[in-house]
């Protein structure tokens, strides 16, 4: 089985379907997630939230709540120092502490329904609930605005009177809800359109949606009398949580130790802080541990769903099918504070294609909704849905097979992407070919059934990563990583470590270390954790191998060039090989004390070269013409994984992303009433796909090695949610002849469209 890699490493585990090391704990209920931690003497923390989507907070009187027996602390805006305005990069997005401090606890105004206004810590849930009712908040209710286009109007209610649109010259004199205008330009679109034989222009609208992780946010904080702070929480990045909490609470980073619990899904939504600083502030005040868990309603109303958007796309192609110009204008809701994923939306819009002339403009717009957080390939599904729909229409107009049309225009190695770089090897053509070769592509369809295809692009990121390997006394290996494991990371890293060191996989025990145990780690996001983590592990393993070779030289009295590490052993080379027996890691472990002490390696890297991942999805669906109901019949995903360390977990990413995309396309949406309040803040009415809503999702692993990674790995986690929206809209068109431009394509909308055309009959 073992194949030999260029670096002389024998590969036994990478590429196989091992059992994940944390698996048994998760199938027995032993694994501890965010809400599963408890400390002696802990209090229960609860948050008072604004009932209004937009209101000035005139006063907050907490006296009655504080007087209630069992209440140990109450906090409000007064417990957080204001922060100056300063933008810092936060993964794929930007953030500003001036906004973060206002999002975790409203200051001058409540900016969305559910915005935190105060919090209490009490000896029981019942007392905490009662205490919330005793807090008297005086509001001056203000007019609100939810929709992005309405929020952009000059007469729209203004959320921030100090917000002036950035990115326009001259700087506007009036504040507005438009936080930023961004633009990318390649070539000359106007000239491009001149060359086009066919031009398609359409406007699209997508509804705001939520990541929908099943585990609500949870945090448990304990602050001692000397300010030493411990925090357990469900997060995608405990080092980031530490940084945010230190900043918001004026603490030294080194004073806070954050342990990431097992995390019950995040998809980008657990990359920011909500409860964590509140729990610490309450614990600091009460001098007792404080546990806080969001209800599902709070998760919907007060965490970070993604944008709803309005997108205009205009594309031109020659009659032979060459794309000659692509224009798009994207307007994304940011929620109450600036920072929508419009920038990545802009960058990805045309990224699957090689087009000479591209211009994409984006607007980041605030409105009275919870501040958006990342959601799997943030921003990209929206803009690429619009472009993939238009690509499909062009294929139709030109009577070219939609896969052939994509193939003809596919971005490939050397393509100059509109967002800047010249692309390395990427798998767009390979995924298109893979889809074309499936039986699915040629399977017969009946009336009211339709087939759709769409591709999707996501960059992926690398970033700061620390990980360690420690060889134990018996030769087993302890692996520590610093990015929370959401979907099999420990398995992947242990496999890489086992292959690097030539030890059996089950002798490597991986854990996720707390913030005191490793150097800084950026969060699990941007599809980076397996990519960067494995690079850090390779680095740590290299240190171990170098060290062991050095020890062998000493033991055997040989020169460095007379020994090598191969197949899990240090061997002498040449003539010396006859005289000394090769030593395994376990052999070195036994004599570690005598040869220089404990053996370990510590990878500290800033991973570069993540390499984009391209995917193409194929879907068959059926429409009930009398009710507008859509059934997904068959689904195939082909995506470039670079190299799949653990194929099952890579397939799982494809399948999970596809189903999230199905939900986004068909039924999921934030439904607001005229009062600006969310009407479906629960799973029942938010309508994520259940098991009976979807078929098996065929997953095809395409492997176009990433040259920048020692194993060829690319991030795979985010791309899968990009193509479904377009693929389903295209299949809807194939089934009904109607181009749906508004998501979700829920039954009332579908039936209305069919009825308008007299098609609502079997």
């Amino acid at each position: 089985m073992a194949e030999t890699m260029a670096n002389g490493q024998s590969q036994t585990y990478v590429g196989t379907r091992t059992i994940r090391p944390d698996g048994v704990d998760k199938v027995t209920g032993r694994a501890r997630f965010g809400a599963d931690f408890n400390l002696p003497g802990q209090l229960i923390g609860r948050v008072l939230r604004s009932p209004h989507p937009h209101a000035r907070i005139l006063s907050i009187d907490t006296a009655k709540a504080e007087a209630l027996p069992g209440v140990k602390a109450v906090i409000t805006r007064d417990d957080f120092a204001d922060q100056s305005s300063e933008f810092i990069p936060a993964g794929e997005m930007m953030m500003n502490y001036k906004d973060v401090v206002r999002n975790v606890m409203a200051r001058e105004k409540a900016l969305y329904e559910g915005h935190a206004v105060a919090a209490v810590a009490a000896t029981s849930v019942a007392i905490a609930r009662r205490a919330l009712k005793l807090i008297d908040v005086k509001y001056e209710v203000l007019p609100h605005v939810i929709d992005v286009v309405e929020a952009m109007r000059p007469d729209a209610p203004l959320l921030h009177d100090d917000l002036f649109t950035a990115g326009v010259e001259p700087k506007p004199e009036q504040p507005s809800n438009i936080a930023k205008r961004v633009e990318i330009v390649l070539g000359d679109v106007e000239a491009g359109f001149q060359k086009a034989d066919v031009i398609v222009e359409r406007e699209f609208k997508t509804a705001p949606v939520h990541q929908g992780y099943i585990e609500p946010h949870a945090a448990l904080a304990s602050v001692s009398e000397d300010g030493a702070t411990e925090l357990w929480c469900s997060t995608q990045g405990h080092f980031i949580v530490r940084a945010h909490c230190a900043r918001l609470l004026g603490l030294d980073i080194g004073r806070i130790r954050v342990t990431a619990s097992e995390i019950g899904g995040g998809f980008g939504g657990k990359t920011v802080v909500y409860l964590e600083p509140l729990a610490i502030a309450l614990s600091r005040k009460a001098k007792r541990p404080v546990k806080m868990v969001m209800s599902r309603e709070e998760v919907f109303k007060a965490s970070g769903p993604t944008s709803g958007a309005t997108v205009r796309v205009k594309m031109g192609a020659t009659k032979e099918g060459k794309f000659v110009a692509g224009f798009a204008e994207l307007k994304y809701q940011a929620g109450a504070f600036q920072g929508s994923p419009v920038q990545p939306g802009v960058m990805c819009a045309y990224a699957p294609y090689d087009i000479e002339n591209v211009k994409v403009i984006g607007y980041d717009v605030v409105s009275n909704r919870p501040k958006v957080a990342a959601y799997r390939a943030p921003g990209a599904p929206i803009s690429e849905f619009a472009v993939e729909s238009v690509v499909d229409e062009i294929a139709k107009k030109l009577d070219i097979d939609p896969i052939d049309l994509r193939m003809q225009n596919a971005a490939r190695e050397g393509t100059k992407a509109a967002y800047g770089p010249k692309l390395g090897p990427i798998g767009m053509e390979e995924t298109l070919n893979a889809i074309k070769k499936t039986e699915h592509w040629n399977a017969p369809l009946r009336k009211w059934q339709g087939r759709g295809v769409a591709s999707g692009f996501w960059f992926n990121i690398g970033g700061e990563t620390s990980a360690s390997l420690t060889v134990n006394e018996d030769g087993t290996v302890s692996l520590m990583a610093g990015t929370p494991d959401i979907g099999g990371l420990r398995a992947s890293l242990a496999m890489v470590a086992a292959d690097e060191l030539g030890v059996p996989y089950d002798k490597v025990r991986p854990i996720i270390g707390d913030t005191g145990s490793l150097g800084f780690n950026f969060l699990t996001g941007g599809s980076r954790s397996a990519f960067s983590g494995s690079m850090a592990i390779v680095e740590a393993a290299k240190q171990i191998k170098t060290e062991l070779c050095a020890r062998a030289c000493k033991l055997w009295d040989l020169k460095p060039d007379q020994v090598e590490f191969a197949g899990g052993q240090v061997k002498a080379l040449g003539a010396a090989a006859e005289k000394v027996k090769p030593m395994s890691i376990a052999d070195f472990a036994k004599v570690a004390g005598k040869t220089g002490g404990p053996i370990g390696g510590y990878g500290r890297i800033n991973a570069q070269g993540a390499g984009p991942s391209l995917g193409t999805h194929l879907v068959d669906l059926e429409v009930d013409p009398e009710t507008g109901r859509v059934t997904i019949l068959k689904y195939t995903v082909a995506q470039d994984a670079g190299r799949a360390i653990h194929p099952s977990y890579v397939e799982g990413q494809f399948q999970g992303g596809a189903v999230q995309g199905i939900g986004w396309a068909l039924n999921e949406e934030y439904i607001y009433g005229a009062d600006g309040k969310l009407q479906n803040a629960g799973f029942l009415d938010y309508r994520m796909p259940v098991a009976s809503d979807v078929p098996m999702i065929d997953a095809i692993l395409v492997e176009v090695a990433n040259p920048k990674h020692p194993y060829g790995v690319r991030g795979v986690g985010e791309t899968p949610i990009v193509p479904p929206l377009g693929a389903i809209a295209n299949a809807m068109e194939a089934a009904t002849g109607i181009r749906f431009t508004e998501l979700p394509m829920s039954p009332p909308k579908v039936l209305k469209a069919l009825k308008e055309r007299g098609l609502n009959k079997v």
Partner: protein
């Protein structure tokens, strides 16, 4: 009002606990008995993460009051493996990578076990509808369904 004193059986053990009327069985399991394998994803019956068996019936423990279970039989994920031996469903979930984050897994396992006890040879359709009250946001259900089918084969062989 004083707390209720309840005597019941959990995973075969006779247990006593005290609870308030408004506390659900899920609250009792997690907070009082420290059986945190049953998860709370919604507290409203929508996600199935809190699934347990009550007198042999699959229920959401978030929709049962603690004081209702006196004299009854409660089975949770913690009772599924027998000693060191995982239940075939647990084993197949691991082999099929039927979990990513794993928060939904206890609920799916308890619900799947209830299915296979009644329907030893379920179709894909039956599995999907039986499990429609268990939400999983990570896997897209594909590998979960495969794992249940495969476990059914193992269990039929005995």
């Amino acid at each position: 009002m004083a707390k209720h004193h309840i005597e019941t059986t959990v995973n075969g053990d006779e247990i006593e606990f005290l609870c308030e009327t408004e506390e659900t069985l899920l609250d009792v399991l997690r907070d009082t008995l420290h059986l945190t394998g049953s998860k709370e994803g919604c507290a409203s019956g929508d996600c199935g993460a809190c699934s347990v068996m009550l007198d042999g019936r699959l229920v959401c423990s978030c929709l049962v009051l603690g004081c209702e279970v006196g004299g009854r039989r409660v089975e949770t994920i913690e009772g599924m493996a027998k000693g060191e031996k995982l239940h075939p469903l647990q084993q197949r979930f691991l082999e099929h990578a039927a979990l990513q984050c794993g928060i939904c897994t206890p609920g799916f396992l308890v619900a799947s076990k209830a299915l296979l006890e009644r329907t030893p040879d379920p179709t894909e359709h039956e599995i999907r509808y039986w499990l429609a009250g268990n939400l999983c946001r990570c896997t897209g259900y594909d590998k979960i369904v495969s794992a249940v089918m495969d476990a059914a084969v193992t269990m039929r062989k005995g």
